[in-house]
Each structure stands twice: as C-alpha cells, then as structure tokens.
C-alpha cells in the first residue's frame, strides 16, 4: 500500500482466520436503507470533488449493494482473503459507487469518501487497485474488465477454489470489441463461476445507445456468444438476488445478467439526464438531491 495523506484506513488483520466474514443477513428494508445511503454518498462525494460520474454510479447502486450485502463471501478486514468472491468493476468511472459501498462494508472509513479525486487521496478518479483496499482491478479504460474477470475465474479453477467472480459492465462499454472477445472466450472456457452484469441504463456520453451505436438485439448477442442470459429490473433487489442465485446453479457456461436500469436513478433531475454522465452536481443540486434521498 503506498502512502497517502492522512490515510485513516481501518487496520487489516494479518490472519485471515481472525477477520470475520461479512454478514449477509440484512433484511429487505435494511438493504433499501443501505442503497439510499450509498446514493447519498455518491451525490455528496462527486459534489465535493466537483467532477466525476454520478449518473452511471447511481444506476448500479442496487446491483452492487445486493452483491456486497446479500451475495458475496468477503472479509472487509482482510481484502486479500484468497477465498473471497471477487467483484470486478469494469466500468471504472463508477468508482464513487464502489468506494461508497466499500466504505459501508467497512473496508474504508466513511469519512474519507469526501477526499475523492483530491491529490494524495486513496480514492482516485477511476479505480486504482494498488492503493484502495477492496478494489480488485485498476480500471477506467473501458472494455478490459470481463477479460480480467475471466482470468481470475480461470485461476480459481486451477487452484480448486470455489470463489465466484462478478464483473460489472456498462452497456455503452459493450461497444468495445474486447468485451466480445472476452464473451467468446468465457463460453469457450466454460467459465461457470463468472457472472457478468450489464448496467443497462441505455445511455452513454454522447446520448442514447441506440443513437450512438445500436447494441440491439443485445440479449440475443449474449445468447449467441454462449452465455446464459437473464434480464431483470436492475433496481429490484429481490430480482437481483434471484438472478444471482439462479446463476450459481448454472454449470458449464457463464451467466450474464442484463439489468435494466435508469441512469441517475433516485434523483429526479439526474434521471435519464446525460448531463450527469460525467459531470458532478453543484452545491444547490447536491442539496436538492439529498432532500430527495432523505
């Protein structure tokens, strides 16, 4: 871990056996409350930074909340625990979402979230796995995460470990040819511990996917590449939970969950508003957003 200014990281346990496995017992009401807290963090931290990507962070809140609080086996006090399930954030611009979630799990102090994007912060603009505990991959250049996740899954198979690997992709990200190279290879290698989740919010920087670069028929493409394909409402925690459980039972092929979402979800004036893809809310907007998220 490289040194960071006033880096108040919680102490990590050297002995995996001592660090506790994160409890996944949260009730549906508690999960909803966590999701709301994470949304508040995203708004606050991008607002404080004055830049960042709130839209595509807000759209995937339920996906990431469900994984960390309901599905994944992990130890916040031992981020390198070899048997942990892995979450690979391929759409690295949703870093605020990952940081907020890691903070709520106890990987990072919540108080550090406001240092996002500042010089010497361990919360970089896009994810940097060399300095942020719990971040599996340095990302930000789109299209690489699914290949990386496949490598992690193949290593698990060779090591006879039973961890699962979850990769979160943006729908716009699927313009990248490498995503389809990885899709082909994952099915070829029968990587059934691998689950891709596409945050299908329908928008990318220059506008709607259908206008920028049409992805449809999107689910058919994944099926044609050999993936078990599940479509759900990406803001429904029960649907997400069911889909992840279903994926666990699928043998011999990878699973993709196409999660239909709304960019900027949870804040009325950010929803489906491309202005908030790569721009932070100003002070007044932060205040309005937090009121909506009370």
């Amino acid at each position: 871990m490289s040194s960071s200014k006033e880096c108040n990281l919680p102490s990590t346990s050297a002995d995996s056996a001592e660090a506790e496995v994160f409890s996944l017992s949260a009730s549906p009401a508690e999960l909803k409350a966590v999701a709301k807290k994470i949304r508040r963090h995203i708004v606050t931290m991008t607002g404080a930074a004055g830049s960042g990507h709130p839209g595509g962070s807000l759209s995937a809140v339920e996906i990431v909340t469900t994984l960390y609080f309901k599905m994944m086996r992990h130890k916040p006090r031992d981020p390198q625990w070899p048997d942990r399930d892995r979450f690979i954030l391929s759409k690295g611009h949703a870093a605020p979402l990952l940081y907020a979630t890691l903070a709520e799990c106890g990987y990072l102090p919540v108080s550090e979230l406001c240092t996002l994007r500042q010089l010497d912060s361990f919360l970089q603009g896009h994810t940097d796995c060399t300095i942020t505990p719990g971040v599996e991959m340095s990302a930000g250049a789109l299209g690489q995460g699914l290949s990386f996740a496949l490598g992690v899954a193949l290593a698990g198979r060779l090591n006879k470990q039973d961890y699962r690997v979850y990769a979160l992709l943006g729908d716009g990200e699927c313009d990248e040819g490498q995503v389809w190279e990885a899709a082909m290879a994952s099915a070829h290698f029968k990587a059934d511990s691998l689950v891709a989740i596409v945050d299908n919010n329908g928008q990318q920087i220059d506008g709607w996917n259908r206008d920028v670069m049409n992805l449809e028929p999107f689910p058919d493409k994944w099926r044609a590449f050999g993936w078990r394909t599940i479509e759900i409402d990406g803001h429904s925690i029960p649907q997400l939970t069911r889909a992840f459980k279903q994926a666990k039972k699928i043998k011999g092929q990878p699973t993709v969950i196409i999660a239909h979402t709304i960019k900027g979800k949870g804040v009325s004036f950010m929803e489906n508003n491309p202005d908030f893809h790569g721009s932070a809310p100003n002070e007044i907007e932060v205040e309005l957003a937090l009121k909506e998220l009370e």
């Binding site: 299209g143 690489q144 490598g151 090591n159 190279e181 990885a182």
Partner: protein, 311 residues
C-alpha cells in the same frame, strides 16, 4: 565457429522445463503457439495452457487476471501484436498495477523476413519501454534467452522479452550468467564503444574484429536489459570518447535514444546510431534485409569511424 540455435525454440523448451517445476506458471497464446513455440508447454501441460485465439487484447487482460490471483502467466505472440495490438491493455491491466505478467514476443525486428512490414516489429521497444516499471530484455542468443526466461520467473513484476525469428549464432558459452539490468562487456577497447542488442551483438563483435586490423580498438557491450537500463556501464563507456549503438528497431525510442539520454545527461561524447532510422522495411530474406537497411557489421564500422572522427 559457434553453432546457430533458435531463440524461440529455446524459449519454448525452457518454459516447459520451468513449468514442470513450478505449478504457478501458466501460458497463453493467440493462435501462434507453433511459431512462438509455446506448443511444447501446451502439449505437456494442457490444463495450464490457454489458447486465446486471434484476440491479443483479451489474452493480455486474461493474463492480468490470472496474475492478480497468484499465477505467473507467460503470454506470447508476435512482437508486432504485443505491444502493438494491445498497448492499452498492457498499460492499464499490467503496467499500472505492476502485475506479474511475462510477455514473450517472438518475430521481433525485420528479420521476420518475407512476411514484410505488417509483421516486422520495429516500434515495440519504444512502446514497451515507455511503460513505468516494465522489465525489458532483448537476448542476444539462445543461452541468454533461457536465462532471461528464468529471471522473469524468479523476479516479480511485468516483463517483456523480445526474440527474433531466425536461428542465430551463439554469442555466449554455457558458463554465461545473465544478470537483470546489467550490461555485458564482450570485448575490451579504448577508442570507441559499440553498444548492441539482439542480432546486432554478433555484428558488433565482427565489426570490432575487422577494425582491429586497422588499428581501431573497439569496446563491445551487450545491453540485454533495456529496462532497467545499466546507466553506469553507459557512463563508463563514455571514457572511450565515442559511442555507437546498433539495434533492429527504429531510431526513435529504441536503444540509441535510451543510451543518448544517459550520455547527454552525464558526459556527452559523439554518438552514432545504427538502426532502421525512420522507415518501414520490405519483404525479403533476413540477410538481404539487414544489408538493405544498413544493419550489418560493415554499417557499424562506418558508424564507428564517423563517431571517432567527431571526437
């Protein structure tokens, strides 16, 4: 006369030997395993070999994922495709997080021959050496190749090893010991220093021998590790008052410009760079190409004389 031995066949066989000893070694290839010679490993250890098809970007990021989970991946293809085809993947997935991935690229330089410019890798060293923290090795012969591959296994961090296609006459004896980051003085001399890499090393030795009869006493350095560069050896070479570099690569960003950076910042002396200058080559036999593009012992000779004249 020493025998000619294939560097890539040596790579393939060394990789298999090391793989038999070390279960963490895994190998990836992009539909070129018979050319890169990773097929030796694939045949004996198929469960640790990943054929990625013609998809180099995917191969590099898969290798990164394997490395992040404790494996020691060797990813091989032609030098023109890695780093050329997958530079961003190498940058973001390997260099930035300093992952333990070893890229061994074969068919470096113009001696690929008849396949022509699309397959002649003449920019790869500039690209890969630009990445912070990468170890970059260009072995001069098969003996150095085997040891460079071993060093890549025992040294944590990203590696790029560039091998040529043709068999090449041995430069070293079996008792040679490769040291990462160290230049090797192959011949002592006081009038000028030739610093060479890869196939140019034996040309440089021939040059030095030819010039001896004219009363010019050349030092010859092999610089197998381009990164980290042996700055001390370069600074010491300035005592000969003239330096000539020789490489099968463009002038821009290759050995010549790396040596010049050290020389000009420490003790400037006249330099000449024997390289491909600034153009693509054509199809032809390796020897014909080396002659056409000025990469022979004779060309190095001319450069040495010109550098000495400017002392």
């Amino acid at each position: 006369m020493k025998p000619e031995v294939s560097l890539r066949e040596t790579y393939g066989k060394t990789l298999l030997e090391l793989g038999m000893e070390n279960p963490d070694i895994v190998v990836l290839d992009a539909d070129l395993s018979r050319s890169t010679m990773t097929h030796f490993f694939a045949q004996k250890l198929p469960e640790r070999f990943f054929e990625c098809g013609i998809a180099e970007q995917n191969m590099i990021s898969i290798a990164a994922g394997l490395a992040s989970s404790g494996k020691i991946p060797f990813a091989s293809t032609f030098a023109v495709f890695a780093p050329g085809r997958c530079f961003d993947q190498i940058r973001m997935s390997i260099a930035q997080p300093q992952l333990n991935v070893k890229i061994v690229a074969t068919h470096g330089g113009i001696t690929v021959g008849e396949d022509g410019s699309s397959h002649q890798s003449i920019e790869d060293l500039a690209l890969i050496c630009s990445l912070p923290g990468f170890n970059v090795i260009v072995p001069a012969d098969a003996i150095e190749t085997a040891q460079a591959v071993e060093a890549a296994v025992t040294t944590h961090g990203p590696f790029y090893i560039r091998l040529c296609r043709p068999k090449s006459q041995l430069v070293y004896n079996e008792d040679y010991r490769f040291q990462l980051g160290k230049a090797v003085t192959l011949r002592k001399g006081k009038d000028a220093t030739i610093i060479a890499i890869g196939l140019m090393v034996k040309e440089a030795l021939e040059t030095a021998q030819n010039l001896q009869s004219e009363g010019i006493d050349c030092r010859v350095l092999n610089m197998p590790t381009l990164k980290p560069l042996d700055q001390a050896a370069i600074i010491k070479a300035t005592e000969t008052g003239a330096i000539v570099t020789a490489e099968e690569h463009l002038e821009h960003g290759g050995l010549g410009s790396m040596v010049a950076r050290v020389v000009t910042q420490n003790r400037p002396v006249p330099m000449e760079m024997v390289s491909l200058k600034d153009s693509y080559a054509k199809s032809g036999k390796p020897a014909e190409l080396l002659k056409r593009y000025g990469l022979t012992a004779k060309d190095i000779e001319k450069a040495v004389k010109s550098a000495i004249k400017r002392k």
